[in-house]
Symmetry: C2
Subunit: 358 residues, 2 copies
Amino acid sequence: MEFDLIHRHFKSPFAALVKANRDSVLTGIGDDCAALAPMPGHGLYVSTDTLVEGVHFFSDDPAPAVGWKSLACNLSDLAACGAQPIGFTLNLSLPLIDESWVAGFSAGLLEIASTFNCPLVGGDTTSAGANTAKTISITVFGEAPLQHHGFHRALAKAGDDVWVSGTPGLARLGLLLEYQRLGSLSRFYSSSEILSVLELLSVMPQSLKQLAVAALRQPFPRVNLGQSLRGKANACVDLSDGLSGDLAHITTASGLSAVLAVHALQSVWLKRWPELSQLPGSVTFLDTLLNITLQGGDDFELCFTAEPTHLDAIQSINTALCRIGQLEAGEGLWLSQPNHSRQRVLGVSYKHFAEPTL
Amino acid sequence: MEFDLIHRHFKSPFAALVKANRDSVLTGIGDDCAALAPMPGHGLYVSTDTLVEGVHFFSDDPAPAVGWKSLACNLSDLAACGAQPIGFTLNLSLPLIDESWVAGFSAGLLEIASTFNCPLVGGDTTSAGANTAKTISITVFGEAPLQHHGFHRALAKAGDDVWVSGTPGLARLGLLLEYQRLGSLSRFYSSSEILSVLELLSVMPQSLKQLAVAALRQPFPRVNLGQSLRGKANACVDLSDGLSGDLAHITTASGLSAVLAVHALQSVWLKRWPELSQLPGSVTFLDTLLNITLQGGDDFELCFTAEPTHLDAIQSINTALCRIGQLEAGEGLWLSQPNHSRQRVLGVSYKHFAEPTL
């Protein structure tokens, strides 16, 4: 049963992708180990993430979206190190063998694996018994030249610009829309905060709502961007826990402070959705968005620091990258207003342990 | 909370082991990815296994034993491919943060990781909410020279001797003793079989009982043996699912049949415990042991095939290796009696899906 299931939904659908990578995958699924041949002169990068039903995804999320996201959050870690994906392993622990769910999960996984040319090379599938939560662990492997420094968090320098890709906070907006749909927003926000959030959600353009839910369900890891930043960025993280929390990993490890411009953070949204500044109550909405931008996790965008001399080179990679602030001597995360007044941002990262389950 | 827990029980206790391997571990726990530097001219071997509480270990198993076994079963896969461990990642999903359990688990993990010089390089810890089962996934990395063929299952040849290390079935005997202790042997055996098992357990020497439970709880992966077999063995598997099932992986992949000598299989036990042949009813006992030897999983011994010309070289590696049969043209698994009569062994491998939970 186990062998059949693995063959039908994993070995067979992924066979073409493994074959297309036969130079790097010496042995795939089916032996005691997979065997890979990393490129000579390259370091091996490894990252692993676990997704638990009810904690990291909703039970009624479409199975292909769960498959996509399981690999996406791991590829995002490779992206944050500037590594090229070469393969991954999958541990799937299921309460029962729900074959239609497995088929959907596998289809989503194959879609993202094919998009990033990252073959499935091994895994373990377990039936954990009724009443358990679906648990998915993926470990992904990548490579980068040994001379690349991997964008370690401690490599940021005072004077570096701070950059972000995409729209940090967009996935959190998607999560809030999902909570609203399920009637459980009040478990997430205090009564003093919830009104402004509800107002924001009620006036938000429909196109933005759809993109927010898509950002939550099917994040697009910035794998190509990460590799393009080799030789340009100093430190880089992916925004899995939220901008303020993840940027703090860099400032803490590098012994620096970050000063982010409120105007720049708002422009991340306004550049894509200029109509947000025209809505009634837009000042309040932009404040609410600012908090979502700082706190929101699960974006899987990149936040990186680079010396100002690289500005043109970075903008030529991708015009949608936004420079949101600078690093300075000192510690902590600060917001600066257009009038140059500063306000310290305190403890607002996304913590899976601290948060209510979905 | 999550960061503190990881630091206290994983990053800090494993720091010395990571440092001792600084040539191969460029970046350990704490960045988006770990970075490893495999030796030039070597292939990278990867294996992953999941252990679920109540399926793969008992809820009341000592936490250090669970930590040991979680890595042992992965190292055993590297052993079966003849690879040298270089590091591993850990995914730990817990119902609640039971810190004393985590501390014990980490201690057992560190003990085996130190024994095999295999540093923890990354991971993910998740609180999955009350009423969930502890779920542990480990992915282990190893290396072997590119010219080593990895003992693929399809590489066995007709005429090869079949060898095993240790005492296959010993861990199954340990599992039966645990079931007996919990009063649940009847969930595992039919009423027609249970009497002979109970009789065997009742007369078994105490020293054998203790070793059987130890084999179940703290199996010793044959990592050094696996590497010593490079250039000698053709195909190799580890006995995670049981001798008959795992050997079938080799015979099926290689398009051959295996003929095992009943006398040789029994001598695997009698060489270590000669008193088993002196017990009242020893003929029945030896038959029961034979079934346990063929069916028993979780042994993490190696079963390998090698051309007869390598006999002396293999015996000089380790005198406790037993030659139990040969491969022939044909298909299936056969037992041969001293009088050369043969009997086919049908479908008796250990399947996690098919088995009752503990």
